[in-house]
């Protein structure tokens, strides 16, 4: 892939970021599948994807650790753009307009909308929770350093965080599918000006003025 924008498009994600995102996505899916296998008996068959129960148990914490580290890089990269602003709260308040696709009624959105920022927040908190509680319940190496009470709390915390993160990611995935062009953006790195205009108008204004103050595309 190339960073050179097509003439008719805006660069939304750099190649590094896209790579980071997809690494994250892969790690997350693996972590989620192996984790869910251990969470509910109905999903224990997921463990077959990893070579059986013991392999699932062995691999899950390492996958989780990888996911957390990759996410940390992503989070650092996206940190500044994901700070909540009053407009974002307004955006969130109007969630009905969001789901109905009435973007014209919403405040202008910058690089990320309120929902994306909320997702970011949930992921940061959730991943931190998973990371920390994961160590406590990592039986092979760490659990014996903690009292059983702490391990129990950590187990519950781990499950709750995972639940929150998974639900958030499910919404994230759907949202990406729903908003046509988003998948392209994270795969190819670019969006059309119309996409930017429609969904992230403030960002559109910012990039079009900053990158090419005089002319628009073409």
């Amino acid at each position: 892939m190339s960073d050179n924008p097509r003439r008719d498009s805006l660069v939304r994600y750099s190649a590094e970021l896209r790579t980071n995102h997809w690494l994250n996505a892969i790690a997350f899916v693996l972590a989620a599948l192996s984790g869910l296998a251990l969470f509910h008996p109905a999903l224990f068959w997921f463990s077959n994807l990893f070579g059986g129960g013991p392999w699932t148990r062995t691999l899950h914490p390492f996958i989780g650790l990888a996911a957390a580290l990759i996410f940390l890089m992503l989070a650092v990269a996206l940190w500044d753009d994901n700070r909540m602003k009053p407009a974002d709260w307004q955006w969130l308040k109007q969630w009905r307009d969001v789901v109905d696709g009435r973007e014209d009624r919403l405040p202008e959105v910058g690089r990320y909308n309120g929902g994306q920022k909320l997702l970011f927040l949930v992921l940061v908190v959730g991943m931190a929770g998973l990371f920390l509680s994961g160590f406590v319940i990592w039986r092979a190496y760490f659990s014996h350093y903690f009292s059983v009470r702490v391990v129990r709390l950590a187990s519950l915390t781990h499950a709750l965080c995972a639940f929150a993160v998974i639900v958030a990611i499910l919404i994230h995935i759907y949202a990406a599918f729903w908003v046509k062009g988003s998948v392209d953006a994270i795969v190819r790195g670019t969006v059309t000006p119309g996409w930017a205009w429609k969904h992230h108008r403030a960002w559109f204004r910012q990039v079009t003025h900053a990158a090419n103050p005089r002319t628009g595309p073409n």
């Binding site: 224990f44 013991p54 092979a140 519950l156 046509k180 062009g181 628009g216």
Partner: protein, 296 residues
Amino acid sequence: MPLQSLDIIRRSATTTPSPQVRGSYTGTVAKLIDVSKCIGCKACQVACMEWNDLRDEVGSNFGSYQNPADLSDQSWTLMRFAEYENPKGDLEWLIRKDGCMHCADPGCLKACPAPGAIVQYANGIVDFQEENCIGCGYCVTGCPFNIPRISKRDHKAYKCTLCSDRVAVGLEPACIKACPTGALVFGTKEDMKAHAAERVADLKSRGFDQADVYDPPGVGGTHVMYVLHHGDQPQLYAGLAMDPRISPTVKLWKGAAKPLALAAMAFTVLAGFFHFVRVGRNEVTPADEAAAEKGS
């Protein structure tokens, strides 16, 4: 005990019912540990290792008669020694055989994510089936008595089986067989409770007014019971749990949280699908492109 007593009535990480038809009309079994008769000779520890072909490390002395230092994958039972000065100023050396209590409502089984790694037989024995064990240690987290241990060698969970293999063919557990003083007895739970009641009466006649049977209702009763001189203070016996129950945290984690979370996740997916059905995709229109061109 006939073999059908080894029917599995409960199985870890399994949502459908286990065989129930045969029931357990012959009654459940129980081991009674009469602490007031126990001299801490450790014959039970040796018998356990011999029958189950286990050999713990030759460890160190760390300032106690208690050896090995703790339960392990190789030590499924352990004498714990506690010194207690009673209010009369007399010393008591309270020696308790520690090991799996075989709860009627086992926390380990509740916590276990691997189908069939932990089972409960119709006779009340809670058994680990190591070939199904994945080594996650959730049983350790779930146990209210701190009993299961994960082996460093094979990362499987181990604990007292109540010699389910012996019991299945009509023998008493190995520790019972070895106990020289009759501190360990084995039979139907009903008989053991009757025997325990006699022992409690004897202890009361010797001035232990609070003598009692330890069969904690918080875990539905146990198939290993104690006769304690100080039934009101089980914690004197090297920290025996006062009112053991499956921790509310574990209950939430392995109880309500499981179906609710799964349902919520499924709901999220469905919600997305129907949103798509009803609202359709959010697409960029030529008008938007035009506006963008204009807006830039």
